[in-house]
Symmetry: C2
Subunit: 425 residues, 2 copies
């Protein structure tokens, strides 16, 4: 049951004053993890289910156990460390992230959130302290691919996922065994809402916003809803020399107007929407032939699903106008729709108060990339804390978050978990 959140910051500060995050150990463990799957160019390759992924999980399991946690692996391959609460009948306060990376990823994406959990557990353990709630650190399986871990935990696995092509060309159902999972028992990975009282994830931003506003902490308002479309434009391929301008049905000229119309969708006053044409295919794509057919993709993201509906209507209207004016036939086909997920308002407030207590600069922003927290929102209230990515870069050997920012992120998470523990009893 939720007690009205009348927080007394001094209580939390007092409670944690003696329990400081060990910045040296944090940095050292981040470096240690980054050695697993290290590439010559400084990047990290720990594809889910690979040997490197297994090694990183084994190392983390050892750390979690050193921190006094009992560790289990669920049928979805999630590695779950649990530290007893003062009241074991309460749902757990959980944090965590993922250890797998893209094929040439960086040292922070996922790893930071896992190490943060490890360090917080170790800090509690060293002080013989306990939250009221049990405390869990969850390493989600295959975040960069199928997101099987968080999907299974929230009960949103679809049977067709069994055949998804994963590491070493194994289908997911088989690949899972490499990390101790078991596809046949996947439904047992699903947890009940009562088991988890809150989930707060620390992650690198993977975008340039925090750096551009010079904030150390991002308070995530939610994870944006996403719509993807394929647009097909049918004009008339024709000789680029002999066809006068006024007799053309140029699909690429129509596409140019569509691209600008998509960009204009995102020009709202709140500057929260993003709209992208990332892919374009032209037929015949020859210097001296007027393009006859164009296929292009649209990716639209916003925190408000209703606003996304409005944008889709507006886009449809624009396409009709452009089709008429360019004498082309334009069709819009939805290919993906993911609803927006809002972060819990009280957790956002707890993060803000933690920043104020720690005298750390912060900035509210949406997460426009997907995260495991998105699935967890089906189970429990969620929150996310971002720290700056240098140059906004991730999924790259150039991915970098300064040690000071990593430390501040863990400190804010630590403080936030304390507040959640008190507020959400």
């Amino acid at each position: 049951m939720l007690i009205p959140p009348k927080i007394n910051p001094s209580v939390s500060l007092a409670a944690t004053a003696a329990m400081q995050i060990n910045s040296d150990r944090l940095r050292h463990r981040l470096q240690q993890l980054a050695q697993i799957g290290r590439l010559p160019n400084g990047g990290v390759s720990r594809l889910a289910f690979s040997a490197a992924d297994q090694d990183a999980r084994a190392q983390t399991q050892q750390w979690l156990q050193m921190a006094g946690m009992t560790v289990r692996i669920d049928p979805a391959g999630n590695l779950i460390g649990r530290y007893p609460g003062q009241d074991e009948t309460l749902g757990a306060i959980a944090t965590g992230s993922h250890l797998d990376t893209v094929s040439c990823g960086g040292s922070y994406d996922g790893a930071l959130g896992v190490i943060a959990g490890v360090e917080i557990a170790q800090t509690l353990h060293d002080a013989h302290a306990h939250f009221h709630h049990p405390f869990e650190v969850i390493v989600f399986a295959d975040e960069e691919g199928s997101m099987i871990g968080s999907k299974a935990m929230s009960g949103s696995v679809e049977s067709r996922m069994a055949t998804l092509n994963r590491s070493n060309s194994n289908p997911l159902a088989k690949a899972l065994t490499a990390i101790g999972g078991n596809w046949k028992a996947i439904e047992q990975a699903k947890r009940q809402s009562e088991e988890l009282h809150a989930f707060v994830e620390l992650h690198v931003e993977q975008g340039p916003v925090l750096e551009s506003v010079r904030a150390a902490i991002g308070i995530v308002e939610g994870i944006v809803g996403q719509r993807r479309y394929q647009i097909t434009i049918e004009g008339q391929a024709n000789h680029a020399g002999t066809t006068p301008m006024h007799l053309r049905q140029d699909a690429l000229v129509a596409a140019a107007r569509v691209i600008l119309a998509v960009q204009a969708l995102a020009n709202d006053e709140h500057k929260q929407t993003v709209a992208t044409v990332g892919e374009i295919h032209t037929i015949p794509n020859t210097v001296n032939v007027i393009p006859g057919t164009i296929k292009l993709t649209v990716d639209l993201r916003d925190l408000c699903d209703r606003h996304l509906n409005q944008l889709q209507s507006q886009l449809n209207q624009n396409l009709q106008t452009i089709g008429q004016e360019t004498r082309t036939k334009i069709a819009l086909q939805p290919t993906l729709q993911t609803p927006a997920v809002l972060a819990d308002a009280e957790i956002q407030a707890a993060i803000e108060q933690s920043c104020q207590m720690l005298n750390t600069s912060y900035h509210y922003l949406p997460s426009r990339a997907g995260h495991d927290a998105q699935s967890l929102a089906r189970l429990t209230r969620i929150g996310m804390i971002f720290v700056p990515s240098r140059g906004g870069i991730s999924h790259s050997a150039q991915e970098y978050t300064a040690p000071q920012h990593c430390l501040q992120g863990v400190q804010v998470l630590w403080q936030t978990l304390w507040q959640c523990d008190r507020q959400l009893i």
Copy 2:
């Protein structure tokens, strides 16, 4: 020497009244030629130097000889029929076109101009008539590819052409032998200006203009100059989710503005310019990544080289503005420059007068496709007569010009040659 063109139409009419083009034989010969290289879909494949090309040339050689012509093949593979003039010291009045097609071409492109020459020679021969000038029918080699025939005749062969990959993967220098040419003697194919007094080519329009204005005859004002460019746009590839709109350097958004700017170049009051972006390549071309690099092609054509220079300046200026406003780096690289060639004013006038005499509708227009006449202009005055292409289509099995239009084209050519013969003594 050119005598001031005070033409008396009645003279020409009287001279040719008894010598009518045989419309049945014309249609029959067009059909006969269309059987050589016939494809199951109704198209024609007579790639230069192929067996079908050789067969069509052999058939044509026979027809030229039947028409009382002496026939030779020059070192560039041009098939040249010559019919004596009343004064053999004069330069020849010439017509002709090509017999080769693209891989799936139609029955009219090139063939009509050759058969027209054959029919005019046969008509003269049947009436035991002669122009003042010698009369030549020229079948140019490899018009759809290297244009080696007309280039060699006008002395504009470059040595690097020897290795151009032609039919059966043979380099041009070797492929030439299949049609009686000889690369080593190619320079001997060059003719002197004095040898040719005028060249008038009948050809299908390969565009929709004549059909759209319902004219039977196109009087070609010239063959447009052509400029091609490659434009490279360097933005910044980035995550389509996490990068806010105002921090983007989206190369495809810049490209969309470039495409519209290119189109706008051709919006002049005379509607003569054409401007096309036919080819676009996007890197990385992925639905969820902001495009980082775009390469696109521009094809610009106009009858006035000075106007093309102005358009290039204007385009450069536009690119600079677009680059600044989209924070991208845009570079323009010229890849092709062909000067415009004007048709001789007196030949244009002769075509118009012929149309008036024959009570045939006509329309002035530029040729925006290349033709052998373009090279011939280096040697002598040239003119071109177009007949309508149904739907503007060519280089296709759907290519079609109505028998009546073919006949009118040959009649106007016939009449025009008579006028040239008289005017240009």
